[in-house]
Amino acid sequence: MTVLAPAPHRKRRTASRTKWAFGRVLIYTALAFWALICLFPIYWTVTTSFKSAVDVTQGHLIPWLDFKPDWKGFRSLGLSPDTILQTSTARAEFTSRFSNSVLTSVGASLLALVLGTLAAYGLSRFRYKFAWMRNDDILFFFMSQLILPPVVLALPFLVLYKALALLDTTFGLILLYTLTVLPIVIWIMRDQFNSIPIELDEAAFVDGLSVWGAFLRIVLPLAIPGMAAAFILSLVLCWNEYFFAALLTSTDAKTLPVMVASQTGSQGINWWSMAALSTAAIAPLVIVGIFLERYIVSGLTTGAGK
């Protein structure tokens, strides 16, 4: 009896053991499956830029094993090792679009950061009364800009920019992009300022600093993590914007997404060059995503889970 007693116990333990192991397997299978879904399109695009037409049509997937990689796609952009030193019109166009994208997204993110940080500090620290609007109404006014679909603004802007001679200029695009990310910056920065104790401001006033002195010298340095998150998130959104860029630029200020989109239509299926172009367009953001993921997550999750 005493000998037999532990048997059902052990049996139950092994049962829960197998159940646990089964659960583990299930969890890791699901994780691996979704990781595959996330990574495969990126993998496919990057490898396709090294394939010739035959490799594409026969569905070869693994470099060196399935097909012999070649700089085909990047050569058509003038970016492969053997063409990088020669002059190339394709590369000239690509670099001009790329630098337009950089200028526009960095410019808009900076402008939004300046305007948004100031407004967020004001809304977090002082009480305003503007006609019937109090702080909460003013904040709602800024946040409500998020609802506005780009189509509503696009056509009036087309007409206005034509009159202002801002059509097809980087500056015009920067103004619009600033508008689209400003609510997000204000949201993140207000949360950041709310988490900084107001006693710091008060101590600064006691030390004789003015409102702006306290803001610039005491509070702002503490808000740098929030600013980094807001800046990087804005950068991603502006880099990927297509709608306004497609309508408001034609030759000079065209950004990378517009170039990618125009290539799909005109060249038919020139797979390797499209793949190379897509790779070049997403590469900066994949790098940002891998190395600055922390800031993006902290920017996105502002206010969640409180």
Partner: protein, 372 residues
């Protein structure tokens, strides 16, 4: 937070109460009046010039922009000079407000005006007023209404994205190794530009002849894997691509919510003998409801702007089956240059969105966490 800020404001007011000298006051006011007059003068000259009444004037309207900038600076200076400390505080908010008014409020009002015009950029005659006829034409435009119907589908599909994202957030929140690796990988699709995604997935992976997705579908027994030929299949394909890009956003916010959840509650449920499903159904889900509603509403707001993928993959086809309102209006402008009609469609859509979101916010206010 509110209380302590009220305290600080009280102290500020004591400083603000110091008398501001009359000269400073008048100087500030005078500066503002001067700048306002200048803005009005530039505007008037330019309107008359554009109208053809006077020959003097500027080549384009840009001087009006400069005059507005000058006026903004004058307004800021006036605030500081005439109102002292309170003006200094207003200076924090003023740039963002002036910017938003110039870039949103004015163009939107201008949009209402354009919407009432018969204005085709490609025709030789200029704009002329035609009252409500754009609105009447809108009600007879079947393509517009089918695009609105598609928006209903795309919006409802947000629930599906939410379900998948919740599952992924739960996976990432469970005890796993290499959590950071999986989090970075799952986040990546969100970073990619929708235009690049349209090519990567829509035009190459789902390509009919030799895209890997089509090959896989054939292997699974679908003889004719045309992802964009049949209306419903095309709609689902577009939705799948948009879901691929946007699920990470929902997932990250839900994950933050899950991580902020007190551990004791789940342990208590376990002690009470709840199994996995029961503790999810009765503990996790109810606690996550405010976060869920908030993220769903944000996601719906962004979904209502969906355009890039549709424009680049199907251009609305087959027969307008995948069109969103934005992509439809984009084509009204691109193919027909019809600015007046396009704007009327957009403004009507804006009104629908505002009403819909107001209702949605009112209905969900009870469960929403305080965002604003």
């Amino acid at each position: 937070m509110q209380d302590s800020s009220a305290l600080a404001v009280g102290r500020h007011d004591k400083i603000a109460a110091r008398r501001i000298s009359n000269t400073r006051n008048y100087l500030g006011r005078g500066f503002l009046v001067f700048a306002s007059l200048m803005l009005a003068a530039v505007l008037l000259v330019q309107i008359l010039h554009a109208d053809g009444r006077i020959s003097a004037g500027f080549a384009d309207w840009r001087p009006v922009l400069y005059a507005y900038l000058l006026w903004s600076v004058a307004l800021g200076a006036e605030q500081v000079m005439a109102r002292g400390q309170r003006g200094l505080r207003a200076l924090f908010l003023l740039p963002a407000v002036l910017f938003t008014v110039a870039v949103v409020i004015f163009p939107t009002l201008f949009g209402f005006y354009i919407a009432s015009l018969d204005w085709n950029l490609s025709s030789l005659e200029g704009p002329h007023f035609n009252g409500l006829s754009n609105l009447i034409a809108l009600f007879q435009d079947d393509y517009y209404w089918s695009a609105l119907g598609n928006m209903v589908f795309y919006t409802v599909a947000v629930l599906g994205e939410y379900a998948i994202a919740f599952g992924l957030a739960l996976l990432l929140n469970s005890e796993i190794r290499a959590r950071k690796f999986f989090r970075v990988v799952f986040l990546l699709p969100m970073m990619l530009s929708p235009v690049a995604v349209s090519w990567m997935i829509g035009k190459s992976l789902m390509e009919y002849r030799f895209g890997p997705a089509a090959t896989l579908a054939r292997a699974l027994g679908w003889d004719n894997p045309a992802f964009f030929a049949h209306p419903w299949i095309a709609r689902f394909s577009i939705e799948a691509m948009d879901a691929w890009v946007s699920i990470p956003f929902i997932m990250i916010i839900l994950l933050a919510g899950l991580q902020a959840m007190p551990k004791e509650v789940l342990e208590a449920a376990k002690v009470d003998g709840a199994n996995g499903w029961q503790s999810f159904r009765h503990v996790t889900f109810p606690i996550m409801l405010p976060v869920s509603i908030t993220v769903l509403i944000i996601r719906i707001i962004f979904k209502l702007k969906l355009a890039d993928i549709v424009i680049n993959v199907t251009a609305g086809g087959p027969g307008g089956a995948t069109d969103t309102v934005s992509s439809f209006i984009y084509r009204v402008y691109r193919d027909r240059s019809n600015v007046g009609y396009g704007t009327a469609l957009a403004i009507f859509y804006l009104l629908l969105i505002v009403v819909f979101l107001m209702l949605l916010l009112r209905l969900t206010r009870r469960w929403m966490q305080k965002v604003v």
